[in-house]
Symmetry: C2
DNA sequence: TAAAAAACTTGAAGTAGTTCAAGAAAGGAT
DNA sequence: ATCCTTTCTTGAACTACTTCAAGTTTTTTA
């Protein structure tokens, strides 16, 4: 149950037996049902979530009441609103399960505590974040340089299983165009 | 010369006298002239740059040969291509000085070394990155929810001095629209 | 301080993608 | 198995923004 996270940590830093056990005492694994939220706009984001199983998206609702998906997360990714988490400010975002999922959550206080007891984890979280941030930089590059159609074909080539896994309208939103347009791209009508 | 960085570190973690001195031995401060690059597409990004003075932008050149600015950096920000830095892969980006600037650079090996000697810095870099990543998440929100005109007015309200500081065509590119369109927004011709 | 280069402006014509509305298909719950 | 909800499709009308080209202004360099 907690193994996926320990394995993930192990890719970045080596913990000894005691440290692993310490980590375990701080974690809390629970199920999140499809469509359930772990964060809503306006709330202060007080935890980070490691996805053990399932799929989430981070989204906002625009002034027309339409959902815009900014980010997806699947197994072995951390999800949170880092800005709200760090600065205790109300979040701009919703984070919602797209499938029945399982997450390991750790709240801010526990994390602070844990990082004092297992300082090696500072490195783990640093490297994780570096990876996410790198990915987000590349994403902006794609948004800035490719047409809607190119973005769709690109993601479809790189992550075909993922494209099947999430609703089309969310994918369209993530790629920053309308669901109708995605439908037309797929039908070859553009 | 190195004080701005030590001050910045001090906002996140407290170093003792020895640790500060250790840090200093790893740093290298140098001037970068306007239009000079610290990173070009295709190079592996081997260092992180802390901006002591001046202004940089990270950009790509698209298939039409046009520059697209993905990110700006000013005093007290770190700039690098984290993906390339972490995974030793060729960078997608250029990083160039917009003004005559001064940076403190630290290369990958030195950083690894330094982090071993001053482990507290793991925390510093983690928190720095968390802040940058949070900012980049919010930026994507703006790109996804505001019209071109709204994005311009927003940045102009939030950071008026910054808007004056960089060429309009770079700002337009950063906001993801054409320089001509920015000209028209400013003239009230949209 | 003149000449060259870089940055900004303007209008006209074009287009990539949106919006709307209505129907069809697929998925979930009881 | 059927009803209800959610998701996907299609075409027609529209629009926010781009592209192009030419001229003007500002900045840099020698």
């Amino acid at each position: 149950m907690y193994l996926p996270l320990l394995d993930h940590i192990d890719k970045f830093v080596k913990l000894d037996h005691d440290e692993r056990n310490t980590v375990l005492t701080y974690l809390d694994c629970h199920k999140v049902r499809k469509k359930e939220h772990v964060l809503k706009e306006g709330q202060v984001c007080n935890a980070q979530y490691f996805i053990v199983k399932g799929c989430f998206h981070q989204y906002i609702i625009n002034e027309k009441g339409v959902e815009k998906t900014l980010l997806f997360g699947i197994e072995n990714w951390w999800m949170t609103d880092f800005l709200s988490f760090q600065s205790h400010s109300p979040s701009n975002f919703y984070i919602q399960a797209i499938e029945n999922s399982e997450v390991i959550s750790i709240d801010k206080e526990s994390l602070e505590d844990l990082l004092i007891r297992v300082p090696k984890l500072e490195r783990y979280f640093r490297l994780c974040m570096q990876k996410s941030f790198g990915a987000s930089q590349v994403r902006i590059k794609y948004l800035f340089t490719m047409s809607a159609e190119e973005r769709y074909h690109h993601i479809n080539t790189m992550f075909p299983e993922f494209v099947q896994r999430v609703p089309q309208y969310m994918l369209a939103s993530y790629l920053d165009f309308s669901p109708e347009f995605l439908s037309k791209i797929r039908a070859g009508k553009v």
